[in-house]
Amino acid sequence: MKIDCIIDGKALSLSVNSNKPLSLILMEDLENKSLTSHCGGRACGNCVVLLNDEAILSCMVPAFRIRGMKIRTFESYQRSRQYRDIERAYKASGNTPCRSCYNARTLIIESILQDLSSENKVRGRDEESVHQHIIQELSLNTCQCIDLAELVQIVEIALTYRNRRRRVRRS
């Protein structure tokens, strides 16, 4: 099956099996180094990519669903401004995820930031429910390399950077 899509800013025309998972397309056909393993849909949370700017598990997206879509993996995301917020938060907290989950964890944090930095969504939510939301989202990745409390702290710091940057841009 021929599938046209945009991956990391490049317009591609792929010839792949129509039901092949996106994670395998990225790993096998495109040799994308940001994805390290394929769990076969067991939701290990290590294959997160951005599909039309929304984080998804690429092992749960078949090839026929990416037609005409814009996919961003960590390879292109790490060159963006948004990544700087998270990178700075890692440095500020003194904790960094291990190499095998770093890419996926960073994209999960990006997804949380997108959700929380939209002011309308935060308004009306109490602090406890926001905290619960962060914990639930972070639990997607099963790697044990970093403590959950430390990860929550990273998200909170990154959120501060993100909101500050937005305010500066607005003013």
Binding site: N19, G41, A43, M60, S111, Q136, L140
Partner: protein, 294 residues
């Protein structure tokens, strides 16, 4: 492409009529909603879907949420994430609690209502919660070129093992309808991880209507993915009409009666799962008592 593995044909109907034409030609085609369950099967890839795949993503009529004074209608292709964000004001709290337990926001973007209700032999959160709410599903059955439409109560869609009872011929669940008259006491609890470790997981939903000093209606369902799906009619009749608060000894007796009922009807449930369900059920009743006293 893998050598020797034929790439399955993908059909993308835009309406139910188009779907009917395709399913008449390819009755064994895989019907694709969100794909989260299908893609998590160990034999998913590489494998041959000989009769092709029917992708429902282009069917706009399955993506609507509508509401009137009596009920909410939710299209089968509405995702759990969309439903949770759109339904804060329209959905019963039981359903909101249920949707929140369906993985993280990233996974909820991919889970669809129809897909969650129609997976073959595994009953998860949504089916368990909807089974005790006044919820029905519109089922279109396809027999050659003939299409028949039925509204079926969600609780009647599954047998005691949680297997779909309507899967004997091609069908399409197009939308669900949830009545807006529900009880004021609603609880939902999931223990274990339904995706990563379904065999040790359990899902419990409880819904009750209180009137003056008693319960006018109580409904309780419990699911053990791949093992059992249980709606306790016996317990419901015992609880309906009971005066509040329920005596702690009676609560204890009822919880052991539930265990006896589950053990009698389902053999695959482990002792640990039974004990956890018993305690959850007890905690719901104690919670109901404390609310009635406050």
């Amino acid at each position: 492409m893998l050598e020797g593995v034929r790439s399955p044909l993908v059909y993308t109907p835009r309406s139910v009529n188009e779907f009917a034409t395709i399913i008449a030609r390819h009755p064994h085609a895989v019907i694709w909603a969100g794909g989260t369950y299908l893609m998590s099967r160990p034999q998913y890839y590489p494998s041959e879907a000989n009769d092709g795949i029917i992708d429902l993503a282009a069917m706009e009529e399955l993506k609507r949420i509508t509401r009137n004074d009596r009920y909410v209608e939710i299209g089968a292709m509405v995702t759990a994430g969309q439903l949770l964000s759109a339904g804060r004001l329209l959905l019963p709290s039981l359903l909101q609690q249920t949707l929140r337990t369906m993985g993280t926001q990233i996974v909820r973007r991919q889970i669809t209502v129809g897909g969650s209700l129609c997976i073959e032999g595994e009953r998860l959160s949504l089916a368990t919660a909807l089974a005790i709410l006044p919820a029905t599903a519109e089922i279109k059955r396809f027999d050659g070129n003939k299409v028949t439409t039925h509204w079926v109560a969600i609780s009647k869609l599954y047998d005691k093992e949680g297997v779909l009872t309507i899967a004997d011929q091609p069908f399409l669940l197009t939308r669900i309808r949830i009545g807006l008259e529900f009880g004021d006491f609603q609880r939902f609890l999931l223990f274990g991880d339904a995706v990563r470790n379904p065999l040790e997981c359990g899902i419990v939903a409880f819904h009750a209507k209180r009137e003056q000093n008693g319960l006018s209606k109580a409904q309780f369902s419990v699911a053990f993915p791949r093992k059992a799906f249980h709606i306790s009619r016996d317990l419901e009749s015992k609880l309906s009409g009971v005066a509040l608060p329920i005596h702690p000894e009676r609560v204890n007796t009822l919880s052991y009666e539930l265990v006896a009922e589950l053990t009698k009807m389902h053999h695959a449930i482990s002792d640990l799962q039974l004990e956890r369900v018993r305690r959850i059920f007890e905690s719901f009743l104690h919670d109901l008592n404390s609310q009635s006293l406050s």
